[in-house]
Subunit: 199 residues, 4 copies
């Protein structure tokens, strides 16, 4: 019976949020500024998101969904590829400042933690699962014996890859350059190979 919400406004707000993150970073980003950039009233922002954190989750989630894992022919190449593209994503200013700040906020806000996991983190596990399946198909890794153990190992590998890249880029503050990617990939692939020798 009533007028529906404007899809254009939604897009404008998310675009404005990313633009503001690039220019100002998380801590200087204000909802008033986002509203002004989007040509929208603050009210409209608050009608859709309960606050800055939720808005930013939605604004950056799409960036993470752009990650892909083309088949590069070998487990090592696939790992190197995903590491490189994840590092490139984290080197973008909006992603870096937002991801860490959201995680920081989420330590005090279980709702936010769930939202981040659902919208950002867990979705990327697909990359690990895909790479793993491909490696198994190639015979580089043994097939899953126990599905529970397999899931656990996938989670571990995900934490190792994502964690190492995050730490390298954001905490250590050094670039994930070719030398580093190569060394990390070698370490991980060697570890996986040594742990699960072909039967």
């Amino acid at each position: 019976m009533a007028r529906p919400r404007s899809a254009a406004a939604e897009r404008a707000m998310l675009d404005a949020t990313r633009a503001a993150l690039v220019e100002l970073g998380w801590s200087k980003l204000t909802l008033g500024d986002v509203a002004a950039r989007a040509g929208v009233a603050k009210t409209t922002l608050y009608r859709r998101w309960p606050g800055k954190s939720a808005l930013v989750v939605d604004a950056v989630a799409v960036l993470f969904d752009e990650l892909e894992l083309p088949d590069r022919g070998s487990l090592a190449a696939d790992v190197g590829g995903v590491v490189r593209s994840f590092a490139a994503l984290l080197e973008r200013p909006e992603t870096a400042t937002a991801l860490m700040a959201l995680v920081a906020e989420s330590t005090r806000d279980p709702g936010l933690r769930d939202r981040i996991r659902t919208a950002v983190v867990d979705r990327q596990k697909r990359l690990v699962l895909e790479g793993r399946a491909r490696a198994q198909a190639r015979g580089e890794l043994p097939p899953d014996a126990d599905p529970v153990a397999a899931a656990r190992q996938a989670d571990l590998v995900f934490d190792v890859i994502a964690g190492a890249v995050v730490h390298r880029v954001l905490v250590s503050g050094e670039p994930a350059d070719d030398a580093w990617v190569t060394a990390f990939t070698a370490l991980l692939v060697a570890g996986l190979g040594a742990l699960t020798p072909p039967g």
Copy 2:
């Protein structure tokens, strides 16, 4: 010639900062509140630290310095030990909320980035170097051929360990329990062993 700064006030401010972090978390921590808890005027806070970030760096840095690496007899045991104690540190509320927020801030503030690295991150590399040296003494790892390559590998191992733990605990939000620590340690030690077979 003038009155010196009060050491008692300094201690009180850092203690108050940690207490406020535990109770309120990073984003709700205010310098006015810290000053009030410390029984100190805001002026005194601002005389010593330029802002919230710098204060919190100093307040949490000492917690990271408490990490130690007792000799547990084998490389695997040493890695497991450091992973466990680092995870325990990150599971403390003040550390978790502060570390991620500081890293987020630091993406926009090179001065802060340096401060964090100097006071928090780089100091912990000693744990890796120590563990590595011990493993070499035991014959678990080969001696350093090229010192530059050795330093690079130590940095890599540091990013992998710290990154995996941070990601597991803070991003994935799952506990670093025995099963996980064991699996991670096995993966890492296997990787190190496979990469650098004893000559």
Copy 3:
């Protein structure tokens, strides 16, 4: 298109300002306190007035506008009447403390000087003009020959009356009692009569 400013808030702020002047005087009056008394946010105060001085001008101006000059039948009686009511106004605590402080501030702030003159001082010249016209109608003073000279004399009389009362009450700090009012009135009326003898 937007929400209009609240008239109730405006009234509350001016009332609170007068109340705070009475209790605290100019120098201990703080805008935070006024806001609190008025049940209003500091922001609302600053949205309408640029600072303490401007607010107080508006708060006290209405008090000066309450001065009136009923026809008391003779020039001397009219002068005595206005002197008494002006003295009574200056003996009110809010008026005394505010007027002098505003004048002090205005010596450094031309904008404030204009604001005071427009809102407080010049408006009271009406009393002199009215009394003068009445005296002329009664034949106590000769009609205006030169309108410019007449305006100048009105200004002079205004400065003499207002200045004498202000100085008596606020600088000398003595009451403007009947004896003083009578003596002053006699002096002024005698001077006016002697200067402009009926043709």
Copy 4:
């Protein structure tokens, strides 16, 4: 920096106070700034004066004591002379801002009121008394019949002169130029003459 510094320091502080009044005006004058200008510690300032008001009273009092009343040969000339020199004094920036502010403060502080009267206001009554005596000697005014009434009239004349000048210069904000001084003098002298006709 030994002890015989005291007298020099006192002079330096009062000079610095006047200089700061000229530059900054009353409301932006700070004791820290005065101390710095005088090359003195804040402590030294507080040892001698209880606060800003008391310091400024002492700093400006000497300026008022410089007023003099040379014999200009007639009552009218003497009145004109004192009006001109008082106006010139009030047109100096340090005097104007300080006098009004002190009076404003004094409405809430009886101690300050007494201090101002003793050090600034009452001392200038000598000018009225001197001029009056001179006019009586010249036969322009009748000798005192009743000493009490004479004192009262002197006070009245003082309030009228000082008040009119203060109001003209500081409240009305117009210059006390020749035309105004002449008109005011004429009015006052005419009033005095008409009130007390030579017997």
